[in-house]
């Protein structure tokens, strides 16, 4: 069974505002066209009862309690299901098929302003350190939004250090990582700068007011042997992204990040701008590129979230407003189509609000993702 109806797809692309050429015969087959199966792997709810899985990261190495290939997942909600109160990172082993709690931090840490609500900003270094963002609340709404922090765990799930400073405001989307072992560069999207209260409404849209203060922060790390990573410098490489409070989904702002194949360009999802942008010279630049250059906008995108790079070099972008993953060419912006990986009709449109984290499987023949509606990790495969 084919995943796309190619004719339908061509019709869709023809309808897009910009006439995008259909992909040529010499181009790689769309990755999503090879994906034919999906199945639930495990419930992501740990013993603590945390809910709402966000980040999905595949462990690059074996270290401590983590085996290479394990899937690490954050939970954004606590036992009482309030958003921004989740305190656990769980570990799914594809070998044993079991889920265990990797890390469980207290709800309040003095060094993390506003408390703990673990977000999609999760990554694991080759040296075994696990770094995760907190975009916290105490009542499940942005009324009590805290500045948050980044937390660093050792590979046994013990908290090693935390980072909080003026550049860190609700680390939000998936982390882009360049890891050289003894040094590393992280890119983290920040969506919590001066977010107006929910009650302040835009008279035109009726939504809470959007402020264009979201950023992407580059953090260079040095990783001394046997010691936690240390920030050597940090630079805002992009700023001016829309961010706002949301009654239902908590926070909307810049989210997904992934490095381009050239090793220097960074792609970012601008959720409120409904676009994917490119930030040039992201690894080296000393100033901000603003909101970067538009790569792909509107079309099949519906408030884009996590971005991952497929083995064929295309970008996979998850939609917030429906249960689809969109594949697009980062060089041309061409959107190849979308696959409905969560079609739960309990939301409207189906899958609305269900997706957030996605990671390509180590063998490149599929991807892992979470469904918030059923608190589960799934895989989509050939």
């Amino acid at each position: 069974m084919k995943i796309f109806n190619v004719r339908t797809f061509l019709l869709l692309t023809a309808l897009l505002a910009e006439a995008i050429p259909s992909f040529g015969a010499d181009q790689a087959k769309p990755f999503l066209e090879t994906i034919h199966h999906r199945r639930t792997l495990v419930s992501t709810i740990p013993d603590s009862g945390d809910l709402n899985p966000y980040a999905v990261v595949v462990a690059p190495v074996s270290a401590g309690r983590i085996q290479k290939g394990d899937v690490l997942i954050t939970n954004f909600n606590g036992l009482t299901n309030l958003q921004g109160t989740g305190t656990t990172i769980v570990d799914y082993s594809p070998v044993t098929k079991q889920l265990t709690t990797f890390a469980h931090v207290p709800q309040h840490l003095p060094q993390c302003p506003g408390g703990i609500g673990l977000s999609t900003a999760l990554t694991m270094l080759k040296s075994g350190w696990v770094i995760v963002g907190s975009a916290p609340s105490t009542d499940g709404t942005t009324r009590t939004l805290g500045a948050g922090c980044l937390l660093v765990f050792d590979s046994n799930g013990q908290l090693a250090t935390t980072w909080a400073n003026d550049n860190i405001r609700c680390p939000w989307g998936n982390v882009a990582l360049i890891d050289n072992g003894s040094s590393a560069t992280l890119f983290v999207s920040m969506a919590g700068f001066d977010v107006p209260p929910l009650q302040v409404r835009d008279p035109v849209t009726g939504y809470p007011v959007t402020v264009n203060k979201g950023t992407v922060l580059r953090i260079n790390l040095s990783i001394p042997e046997g010691k936690p990573p240390v920030i050597t410098d940090q630079t805002v490489v992009a700023n001016g992204f829309g961010q706002r409070a949301d009654r239902d989904v908590f926070l909307v702002g810049p989210t997904g990040l992934v490095m381009a194949a050239d090793g220097t360009t960074l792609y970012a999802s601008d959720a409120l701008g409904n676009q994917v942008v490119a930030i040039s010279e992201a690894t080296a630049r000393k100033d901000s590129a603003g909101t970067g250059r538009t790569v792909s906008k509107d079309g099949l995108l519906r408030r884009p979230l996590t971005i991952a790079m497929a083995p064929n070099g295309n970008l996979l972008v998850l939609n917030a407003k429906n249960g689809q993953v969109v594949e697009l060419n980062p060089l041309t912006g061409e959107q190849f189509g979308a696959q409905w990986i969560d079609n739960n009709p309990a939301q409207s449109p189906p899958g609305n609000g269900d997706l957030f984290g996605l990671a390509i499987k180590p063998d490149g023949r599929g991807f892992y993702y979470v469904q918030d509606d059923v608190n589960s990790l799934l895989e989509a495969t050939q």
């Binding site: 499940g140 009654r247 990986i341 309990a346 939301q347 609000g353 059923v374």
Partner: protein, 444 residues
């Protein structure tokens, strides 16, 4: 004859829908086989017979009332924390509760009106100069009076013992820890459906007062709580009601109506036997759960979704929903290896392991956050089901069935949350002159 034809078509639709799930074939098989003659010791064999709503239900009996009793239309459930440290005071409380309940079951006041209120345990007078401030319960009325002149209304009062009676915070307050039945387990967490609020969960003692009149049910608990002053205090309460006809819950369905034998367990599944302590023989174990339904969200679902989720058709008079194609997205051509069984297909295999005697509840509106995308927050109905089930052992009754639900009922799990409840050992009934739970305290 038209009715009959409709009913037959309806049953066919039910069976067809059940067959959607992996358990469908066995479930459909059950529908057919359950129409054979029921066994004689089915505990609910009297439930189909009409009853006088004013009548007296027996209090002194082998089993406590309110279990195999045909469900009354209203219930008032209360869990209590014991505040006394004294074993004798617990016994006095149970004696006083037993006597008052027997009287109220016959339509009498809780205590004789002539003598004023008699607390289960008389208050200790303060020492020294405050002696004149000592409360005088005898100056209060023996009964609060709101059901004077009313009939017995089929009142039953059922008493349960929570784990806290046996051991609490590691303390054996009443010398009963060694007599805690193994079946009175600590309830596991059913992650995907549980959001248990501590203030609405647990308790050392429980009272289920059920009647054909809501004031009669509340009156019973109100009197018993009064008598308990100084010994036990209310921890949480829950009201419940059943519709005057049928037994549809607030999602709009009724398994009992549509699946013959859905609620007809054999007595051996309900009453504790030799496997446990002697003092529990002839008793039972009750699991109660306050299950909040996301009704606003549910009401936006197409009928096809609702019917697929429950595994039954809504009602013979409801027209078929013509939006069936919407349930499976036409955009999705990927083979999913997950098959989601309907609710009924999950619960039917465990149907004989417990006696379900549930009520709906409706507690107004309050601010809440739904547990599922799109994560709506706001004022929503605080309404749903007060699920009640009696069984010989929750480890073979409620727990395995609800573990299956938590793991596999993903369509329905997006619309309900278990927010409170408890597990209580229900001792057997008492003979006249005895008190409920006597064998527990007098066992050697």
């Amino acid at each position: 004859m038209n009715w009959l034809r409709n009913h037959q078509q309806y049953l066919v639709r039910c069976i067809a829908l059940l067959a959607l799930g992996p358990l469908g074939s066995s479930a459909a098989g059950f529908v057919a086989s359950a129409q054979s003659a029921p066994a004689k010791d089915v505990v609910t064999s009297n439930w189909g017979k009409p009853l006088d709503p004013n009548q007296v239900e027996p209090f002194w009996a082998e089993h406590q009332g309110g279990i195999e009793t045909k469900p009354q239309h209203f219930t008032y459930f209360a869990a209590f924390d014991l505040t006394t440290k004294n074993r004798e005071e617990v016994i006095k409380l149970l004696k006083a509760w037993t006597a008052a309940s027997a009287r109220m079951s016959e339509g009498q006041t809780a205590q004789p009106l002539e003598s004023g209120l008699q607390l289960a345990v008389a208050p200790v007078a303060p020492k020294g100069g405050d002696a004149e401030d000592a409360p005088d319960p005898g100056s209060r009325a023996a009964d609060t009076g709101e059901v004077l002149g009313m009939p017995a209304s089929r009142l039953t009062v059922t008493f349960g013992f929570g784990a806290g009676l046996f051991i609490k915070d590691g303390k054996d307050r009443y010398g009963l820890a060694a007599r805690r039945p193994e079946a009175l387990v600590d309830m596991p967490n059913f992650g995907s459906i549980d959001q248990m609020v501590p203030e609405h969960t647990g308790g050392d003692l429980a009272i289920q007062a059920s009647a054909e009149d809501p004031q009669v049910a509340f009156h019973a608990v109100r009197q018993l709580a009064r008598i308990a002053e100084g010994v036990a205090q209310i921890r949480w309460v829950q009201t419940g009601y059943r519709p005057t006809a049928g037994d549809r819950h607030l999602l709009g369905f009724s398994a009992e109506e549509k699946i013959p034998g859905m609620n007809a367990p054999q007595s051996q599944a309900v009453w504790a036997g030799k496997e446990g302590p002697d003092w529990m023989r002839g008793g039972s174990y009750v699991v109660v759960r306050r299950i909040r339904f996301a009704l606003e969200h549910w009401d936006q679902m197409p009928q096809t979704y609702q019917e697929a989720a429950l595994g039954e058709m809504k009602h013979p008079n409801m027209p078929e929903d013509h939006s069936q194609t919407k349930v499976k997205s036409s955009l999705d051509n990927v083979v999913t290896e997950d098959s989601t069984p309907p609710h009924l297909a999950i619960v039917i295999p465990g149907r004989d392991a417990m006696l379900r005697r549930s009520y709906s509840y409706n507690d107004g509106v309050n601010f809440t956050t739904e547990r599922w995308p799109p994560w709506r927050q706001g004022l929503e109905y605080d309404a749903g089901m007060f699920f009640i089930c009696f069984q010989r052992d929750p480890r073979t009754g409620f727990i395995p069935v609800f573990r299956e639900l938590a793991n596999h009922d993903s369509r329905l799990n997006q619309f309900w949350t278990h927010v409170g409840g408890g597990l209580f050992a229900i001792p057997p009934g008492a003979k006249q002159g005895e008190y409920i739970g006597q064998a527990l305290f007098e066992a050697r």
